[in-house]
Structure formats: C-alpha cells, structure tokens
C-alpha cells in the first residue's frame, strides 16, 4: 500500500505469523509485538511493511505504537537501561537514579548514546518492589541501587 525507499525483509517465521493473523480482528497489536520481539524495535521500514501486509494505514500503526510505552520506534542501545518508576521505586528515589544516569550517559530518557552502547528508559514496575529502587540493564536486575553505584554498574557493560 504505501511506497517506501527501502524495503525490509521479514523472516519466514514472522511472515507466517502475520499471514496467520491477517484476517483476525485486533491483529495489529499481536503483530507489532512479534515484530518488536524479532527486531528489538519497530522501525519505520518495519511499520511500512506491516501496513502493506495488513492493509492498514500507517497512521493507525503509529497511533498504536505511540500509545503503548512497550513499543519502541527507535533502535535501543546495545544495553538497554530500564529504571523503575513504579510507586515503590519512585518513593525510594527512582527518579534520582534517572537524573544521575542522564548525567553520566549524557542522554535524555528515551535516547541512545552516540556510540550506540546504552539507551535509557523509565518503566513502571518490574515486579520486585522489595528491592526498590530497581533498575535493569539488558536482562540483569540491580536492586536497592544507590546513586554512587551507578558508575560501577555502567562500567561493567562498557
């Protein structure tokens, strides 16, 4: 449906998944989940491809992508840092961790460092409030984090 500069190729598995869900109502979120699972984010090219395959306007796709925090439209860094800002972590200083990480990495929330190493995001509850304030890097969880520990944690992934 929509014309684009570069076409992206989806894996056979992904194409099969989309074909399976093509005619079912409410398929868009399912499909976007799967795309993000495979590619790490939903790029413009991927969104164009989904629009074409499902015959859905690109605007509708971006309406959904921008509504749910879960979906990412920019490529995350090699190590994605998530700072929990759920109620418990927030009260225990989650926001202070975000501020300090912003300082240390030189990027705002939602951005990626110039070298592509780190990206930073705020999330709502990672499910271990007892460890508040919590942050995760990649899949690794860090609990009861203090401001002073942050340079060390980052260094571990450099």
């Amino acid at each position: 449906m929509s014309a684009m500069k570069e076409k992206i190729t989806f894996s056979k598995g992904l194409v099969a998944f989309i074909e399976k869900w093509k005619e079912k109502p409410g398929n868009l979120i399912m499909v976007l989940h799967k795309v993000q699972e495979e590619l790490g984010y939903v790029s413009r090219e991927a969104a164009d491809k989904v629009a074409e395959m499902l015959d859905i306007p690109l605007a509708t796709i971006y309406g959904v992508l921008s509504f749910y925090h879960f979906f990412k439209i920019t490529k995350p860094g090699e190590h994605n840092i998530q700072v929990c800002l759920g109620t418990a972590c927030y009260l225990k200083g989650g926001e202070m961790l975000v501020d300090e990480l912003t300082n240390l990495l030189g990027i705002e929330v939602g951005a990626v460092t110039a070298d592509g190493k780190f990206s930073l995001e705020g999330v709502r509850c990672v499910g271990c409030c007892g460890l508040a304030p919590v942050m995760t890097v990649g899949g690794e969880v860090f609990g009861k984090v203090t401001k002073d520990q942050l340079p060390g944690i980052i260094a571990k992934f450099k």
């Binding site: 449906m1 413009r44 605007a59 971006y62 309406g63």
Partner: protein, 583 residues
C-alpha cells in the same frame, strides 16, 4: 420508524429512536453545549461538556453519545450542571494558551465562545501548555499543536469522512497530538489539503494559511494589474460572514466588493466552468464515440480529489479527464486571451482566485502545467474565510452594496457553470452540453433531477436520444472507493465498465462545503447553499455552457474548437503517480 417518548426538563418529547439526547433537546429548543461533538461525525464523548442528568439515576450521561430511551427523563441545565460545565471549560483552558488576540479563530472559536458564555474570569488551574512548533509544511493549512484541545474532530474527519488517514492521535494522555505518522510533517503525509480538518476544528489548532496581505500588497502596487476570479460556491456562502442566511446569492455584491478593494478586473470562475464543460464534455463524447481513451471518464476539477487519486488510485490516471480545473483554466486564459485582448503585458497581471477550498492553494503550483501561460496562471488563492475578513477589514458594508456585473470577456456564465459548486452539478452541466454534442439538439428540460441529491454515492442512467449514459457521483472522499473498486473490478475482469462518466468531489456536498468555507457547516447549511446555486442556475438566462456567448466568442477568436492544439496546451494537464508518503 419507531419513536421514543421522553422528557427534557419536564417537557414531553417524541423523537425517532436511535437519535441522541442532543437532538431530543433541540426539539424543545434547548441547546446543550458541545465541543468535541459535530453533527457530521460519530459522537465519541471526549470533552464532557454535554453532560446531562437522568432522573432517578446517579450517573451523568453525555448527551452526544447517549441514545434516547422510552420514558427517559433528562435534566439538561441546573446549578450543578452549570458548575460542572464551567469546570470542564476551565480545565480545557488550563492546557490552552491565552493568545486569543493573535489567534486565527479569534471571534469564531468555540472554546472562546463558551468561556464567554460561562463568564470564566480567572484561571483556577495550573496552566500546562504544549511546547511544539507549528507545522506549516503545506501550502494550504497550518497545524498548531499548542492550541489543540484534543477533541479529535480533525482525526475523525480525516479518517472517516475523507478516508485519507493523514492525521492520527499520536501519543497518549496529555502528550497526545493530532499529527501524521512517524513524526512527519503534513506535506510528506497522505494529506490531500482538502482542509476539512480546518473547517471542523473548534479552535485555532488547524487553520488555512492566511495570504490576504499578498492581495493587499498587489493592489497597492501600481505595476500590477490585479485580476480576480470567484468560484461558484463562494457566492452562496460568503454572506454568512455578514449575517446573511446560508445560500443567499451575493454574486453582484462580491463583484462590487472586489472593485471597492481596488482590483482592476473582476471575472468569474463560472465562465471557466463553462469552458471546462466544453473541453471535458467534448472529451467524453470523443471517448464514447471513437473508443479512444478509457471509460468511465472521471472529473478532475477538484484538486484534493486529484491528489488523492494520484496517491491511492494511480492506475486510474487514464480515466481522468485531462481538462484542468475551472480555476486553472481561468488563470491560463487570463494571462493569454484576456492579456492579448486588453493589450496588457501578462508579466504584469496578478491573477487571484477566491475559492471555497484550501487545496486550491496547493493546486496553483502542483506541477509545470499550472504555468501554461508562461507565468504562474494563478498567483494567489484566498479562501472564502480570508476574503470575508478582508472585506471587513477594508470597511466595506457588504450587505448594503449595490449589485454589479463582472467584466468581459471572461466573466459571463451559464447556469451550468454555477452548479459546479455542488455535488452532481458538474455532471448535470456536462450532460446538458454532451446532449447537444451527441445529438445536435438541445435538451428540452435542462433540470436533470436524476443526478441531484445528497447521498454519498449515487448512480443513474441518462437517456441521450436512445443512448443510455450510465453516470455515478461520489462526494466525501471516503465514499469514492466504493465506486472506484467497482470500476477496477470490472476492468480487471475484462467486463464492460459499469459507468461512462463519474463525478467526484472531495468534500461532502461538494465545494459549497469546502475546507475554506465559513465555519459551522452542517448538512442543513449545505442544503441551503446548494439550493442557492440551483436558484442562481434557474435565474440564468442561459443554462447550458455551450450557449454562453462569451464561450462562443473565445472559441471563435482564440481556441478554434474544443480539444484544439491551443486548448490542449492551455486547458489540459497530465497526472503522475505519487507516493502516499513522500518520506
């Protein structure tokens, strides 16, 4: 039709089942304030201003979205509802900048009106404004996200009425913006510049690009010979800005107002609507009789439709009439035929069009064919709204003006030309002349009722002395796909085309309800404006384009015949497949 019996503020009301509480209240002359609701669009209860109480129920109902029910008893106004509504307004104002004096909607803003009516005198809530730049990427409309109250009318119009999907709710909560996908500017999106978003926006978040100053400057430049044309639909709508009822024919007053503004010559797009019929009608007859060219032939007067077709249905380019729109034809003959006649250097002519349409601002530079005279055929387009403002700012008492006449030789029009402004009108005008071209005779009754009406898609058969001409009409862009898909299917299956001739107008009701027309357009207003155009048609001494003496003259003196080499050069154009997203 089943009806429902209910009460509004104790007054009994009988109303058609399925209607909303707003409609029931209206029946007993009660107005419930609304901000997100628009009668053109499905109700979706975003703003909360229309809340009402139902007796014996603790819940508040939204009058726009709640259907009437048997025995329902509704309270629309009391002290508590007054306070709730005032709070809703104050809360909306807490995210809306206080810049009324410099706003495009100053004096016509629906939020401003309610703030005034509810006597809001202070801002009780912390103000949190959106800090985002304006989108001025198109030549037609401006998006100002700082003014947006997130009512969603523009998105609904763009998607449901127009089927364009340029705008969408992007983001969530107070971060939501009405914007194209992928952070693109409007000009890189599928936007067709129809401006229906601007006509439906209750505030100053989407508005036409104001270029009135350019006309004022041109008039005061002694080296410029300013020539103005007015579109069919303007004459039955501009009066609304001066408190005249919708549909009042003000052609003579518009001519007079333009002369008072100081323009040099006043012409009429209706003349070129007649010219369009000569070219497009001849083209149709040629396609039908010689077999050259695709059938059905589809009208191409509407620039928003042209843009849509080039993006969404480019495989139908061969079906498009190559005739330019009346406005562009008028521009081309202004800088050639008129310039020669009047012995004026076309380089000094400043050609202006007053249009009901925002897409017309985009059309004048859409491709190189719009410069057929060797210059920009049309230099400036002002919408009806801009024109009305200019008349007011120039101190012209519009309603008291004596009617004047247009200038020759490109100002006279037949009734056929004037109905170009409403759905079905181009079709009717074309049939009147095609009948003559095909049979050599004149139609006995030029009123072709079969093609009139307001249904989004209509079709019919017109008998041209035994030849059955199958015609169809669509208006409101979202309606066009039904017709086009039918044609595509027949074509791909190698079947006979279901129609011979198709008229498309992007806006519901046609140009009378264009994106540049006065605000508060509803189906009622559309019907009044359309009635005005048919009255103008009936009152015309000449009803058919080919009978217009100035049309006969221009072919005798200048073009020779329709579809001549000269007319191909000046009056016809080409189309190009375009990407739905430029980037």
């Amino acid at each position: 039709m089943s009806t429902v019996h209910m009460k509004i503020n104790g007054m009994p009301v009988e109303i058609e089942a399925g209607k909303n509480i707003l409609a029931a209240a209206k029946k007993v002359n009660v107005n419930i304030p609304t901000l997100c609701y628009h009668p053109d669009l499905p109700a979706w209860a975003a703003c909360g201003l229309c809340v009402v109480k139902q007796e014996n129920s603790p819940k508040l109902l939204r009058a726009c979205a709640a259907p009437v029910q048997e025995n329902m008893s509704i309270i629309t106004h009391d002290a508590e509802l007054y306070q709730i509504r005032k709070t809703v307004i104050e809360m909306i104002m807490s995210t809306h900048p206080n810049t009324c004096l410099t706003c495009a909607r100053n004096g016509s803003c629906e939020l401003q009106r309610f703030a005034a009516e509810f006597g809001v005198r202070e801002q009780p809530y912390e103000v949190r404004l959106v800090d985002l730049p304006q989108d001025r990427s198109t030549t037609s409309i401006v998006l100002d996200p700082t003014k947006c109250i997130k009512c969603g009318r523009c998105v609904q119009v763009c998607q449901e009425m127009q089927g364009v999907y340029a705008l969408e709710f992007i983001g969530r909560g107070d971060k939501t913006v009405m914007s194209p996908a992928a952070g693109l500017p409007l000009n890189d999106s599928p936007c067709i510049k129809c401006g229906q978003c601007s006509a439906h926006c209750p505030v100053g978040a989407i508005f036409e690009k104001d270029e009135t100053r350019d006309l004022v400057r041109a008039i005061s430049d002694p080296d410029k010979h300013v020539v103005v044309q007015i579109a069919p639909a303007v004459r039955v709508a501009v009066g609304e800005a001066f408190n005249l009822p919708a549909g009042t024919i003000t052609t003579g007053k518009i001519y007079a107002a333009l002369r008072r503004l100081g323009v040099d010559k006043v012409f009429d797009t209706n003349f070129s609507a007649d010219l369009t019929i000569m070219e497009e009608g001849t083209e149709l007859v040629k396609r039908l009789t010689t077999g050259e060219g695709a059938i059905p032939q589809i009208t191409s007067c509407c620039p928003a439709w042209t843009d849509y077709m080039e993006k969404y249905y480019s495989d139908m380019i061969p079906n498009f009439s190559t005739a330019k729109s009346p406005m562009m034809m008028q521009g081309a003959v202004t800088k050639t035929y008129y310039a020669q006649n009047a012995k004026i250097d076309p380089a000094k002519i400043y050609s202006v069009a007053i249009m009901p349409c925002t897409a017309k601002k985009f059309e004048i530079s859409r491709d190189e064919n719009m410069y057929a005279s060797g210059y920009a055929d049309v230099d400036l387009v002002l919408t009806t709204r801009e024109f009305a403002r200019l008349i007011k700012a120039s101190g012209i008492d519009f309603t008291k003006l004596e009617d004047e006449k247009a200038d020759s030789p490109i100002g006279a029009y037949a009734g056929a030309g004037t109905i170009f402004g409403n759905t079905g009108g181009v079709m009717e005008a074309a049939i009147r002349t095609a009948y003559n071209l095909m049979t050599g005779e004149e139609l006995k009754d030029v009123n072709i009722e079969a093609v009139r009406g307001m249904e989004g898609v209509r079709s019919g058969v017109v008998d041209v002395k035994g030849t059955k001409l199958r015609v169809a009409i669509a208006h409101g862009m979202a309606n066009v796909s039904t017709l086009l898909d039918e044609i595509r299917e027949a074509r791909d299956a190698g079947k006979e085309p279901p129609y011979h001739f198709i008229e498309v107008m992007a806006c519901r009701g046609g140009c009378v309800a264009g994106g540049g027309q006065p605000y508060a357009t509803t189906d009622e207003v559309r019907a009044q404006r359309i009635a005005g155009l048919y009255t103008d048609d009936e009152r015309s001494t000449v009803r058919c384009s080919h009978q217009n003496p100035e049309i006969q003259q221009i072919y005798k003196d200048f073009f020779g015949a329709p579809l001549s080499e000269k007319s191909h050069h000046l009056l016809h154009t080409t189309y190009t497949e375009r990407k739905i997203y430029k980037k």
